[in-house]
């Protein structure tokens, strides 16, 4: 394989990797946000506590 072809191969491989893994950091952020706690008047609550209970 020529050096040029090898370089192209490496670029394609890196792009493919990037394409495959980009959702992962976002998913991690989303998970963290979902588990976050909120403090209202000193009460330590889950974020879901603040959602209306009968929301459809």
């Amino acid at each position: 394989m020529s050096p040029r072809k090898r370089k192209m191969h490496r670029i394609r491989r890196d792009l493919l990797k990037l394409f495959l893994v980009w959702p992962l950091p976002l998913a991690a952020l989303r998970t963290q946000a979902a588990e976050e706690y909120v403090i209202v008047d000193g009460w330590v609550m889950k974020r879901t506590d603040l959602q209306p209970k009968n929301a459809s």
């Binding site: 000193g42 330590v44 609550m45």
Partner: protein, 490 residues
């Protein structure tokens, strides 16, 4: 044999002893009970009488500064046979593995001995403190649920008053001489052995001002954390700065357990609170991950709030009415604290890190025996504030995550600019800390004072860290370990 030293019948104290024990609290009595089983001649010396007397208790008096300790010097300890076991509450807990860790979060060395070194004496300690078959193991917060908080190790003594319980056995023991109303006022050194000074004799004084010498092969001082430091600092005629004070640690690192009401809670799932006492302690992973001290939180919900007095019917109706409406409830709490059904406050016992600025030091005032009185300066530092706030927040989050309860933290838990109102638990520790490195401690792992061949210290003053539970069981465990060591020395 019992000798009232005020009666001046001090002939019995002149015979040389194998071991001379000063102090008859949980530490001194535990060592005495074990050594009484051997062939050693023991002198057990108590500064007070067999019963409480005002003249003895008065000798504890000194001054206090720093955090308000509500009369720690004279009100929180008893100066007569049995020591502070005459007034303790009886709660016992085992220090966790993490409490004995050599690697600490506060910079000073931790315990030089592993937990298993004291646990081997647990059956005997359980027997001495009458803990029976109660379990001392930690348990999950709720069976089958993974949590960063566990039900703490706890067992309850009746509470045993060690003086009345063991008095007769010790007085009747053939190799024990119990001397009461004999105040230890000086420790005199003479000669050297293997590079260490040797204690030649101790000087005791009665309430009439008469003195006597006691000679023994080995001496154990177990007078309580404040008095152990006070005595060693007062003995500065032959060792400048006091015996064992080569590194300046005698009296320093005075520790209490921090009593903080971190907030209020409302139960969401009653099944989490089915235990008699919801006493929760953090898991090791949480403590090591956050680099903080240990502790216990008591969260006991008031499922049936009660009212008392002639007006209890009206009080009950008023409470029920107030509790129904959140706005009225919160407004009413500005005038007085009360629980609605399923609510409670969270109290705590939190480890204080060893802080050299928190200390016992001598003043220029002297007591009736001629010993300089102490000033107790109790202080917490930033590491302690971090421990209190982090543990409180983690507990509140964990209660929310598990849906066990919702916690309302007090304002000072969230606002770092506010002072934390800290109360005490009457647990005095750390003033003659244990370290195998003489630069960081007063006694070695066998409780022997560095630089003195035959002087030992008993009690919570040797704790290098205070752990996250009541200290009495650990005091007894260490005393039993010391007794075994003294027995081996022949």
């Amino acid at each position: 044999m019992h000798l009232d030293f005020d009666g001046a019948a001090n002939g019995a104290l002149t015979a040389p002893f194998d071991v001379c024990l000063f102090g008859t609290g949980p530490a001194g009595l535990s060592v005495a009970l074990e050594l009484a089983k051997t062939r050693k001649r023991i002198a057990l010396v108590e500064a007070g009488g067999l019963e409480y007397t005002e003249d003895s208790q008065k000798l504890y008096e000194g001054s206090e500064s720093g955090l308000n300790n509500w009369g720690a010097l004279s009100n929180k300890r008893m100066r007569f046979f049995g020591g502070s076991s005459n007034c303790w509450s009886g709660r016992c807990g085992l220090f966790d593995e993490v409490d004995f860790a050599a690697d600490t979060y506060h910079g000073l060395p931790g315990w030089p001995i592993p937990r298993k070194a004291v646990l081997e004496h647990l059956p005997r300690a359980i027997d001495i403190l009458d803990l029976g078959a109660q379990s001392l193991a930690t348990k999950p917060f709720k069976e089958g649920v993974r949590s960063s908080f566990l039900h703490a190790s706890a067992a309850f003594s009746p509470p045993t008053r060690l003086g009345p319980k063991y008095r007769q056995a010790l007085v009747e023991s053939r190799n024990v001489v119990l001397a009461t109303r004999a105040n230890l006022v000086d420790l005199r050194l003479a000669g050297k052995s293997g590079g260490n000074a040797v204690l030649d004799h101790a000087v005791v004084k009665n309430y009439k001002g008469q003195t006597a010498r006691i000679s023994a092969k080995r001496y154990v001082v177990a007078l309580g954390a404040v008095e152990n430091a006070r005595l060693l600092l007062n003995c500065d005629k032959q060792m400048p700065g006091g015996i064992g004070n080569h590194a300046g640690y005698v009296g320093r690192c005075f520790m209490e357990h921090l009593n903080v009401q971190i907030g209020r809670f409302v139960v969401r799932d009653q099944s989490f609170f089915s235990e008699k006492q919801a006493e929760l302690s953090p898991a090791r992973e949480l403590l090591e991950g956050q680099r903080i001290g240990n502790g216990v939180f008591a969260a006991n919900p008031d499922f049936i709030p009660k009212d008392y007095g002639r007006l209890r019917y009206f009080k009950q109706k008023l409470r029920e009415g107030t509790c129904q409406y959140e706005t009225i409830r919160e407004y009413a709490r500005k005038f007085g604290d009360f629980n609605c059904q399923g609510e409670g406050v969270i109290t705590s016992l939190i480890e204080q890190c060893p802080n050299p600025d928190s200390r016992v030091s001598l003043t220029a005032n002297v007591d009736a025996l001629g010993l300089r009185k102490v000033n107790l300066h109790w202080a917490i530092n930033e590491a302690d504030r971090h421990t209190i706030r982090t543990l409180g927040m983690e507990l509140a989050k964990e209660m929310a995550r598990l849906d066990a309860a919702r916690v309302q933290l007090s304002d000072f838990m969230l606002d770092k600019s506010q002072d934390i109102p800290v109360a005490h638990h009457a647990h005095h520790m750390g003033t003659t800390r244990m370290s195998n490195d003489p630069r960081h401690g007063v006694v070695d792992e066998n409780c022997r004072v560095h630089g003195v061949a035959n002087l030992y210290v008993g009690g919570a003053s040797v704790f290098p860290t205070g752990g996250g539970t009541n200290p009495t069981l650990t005091i007894v465990l260490l005393a039993l370990r010391l007794a075994k060591h003294l027995e081996k020395l022949g």
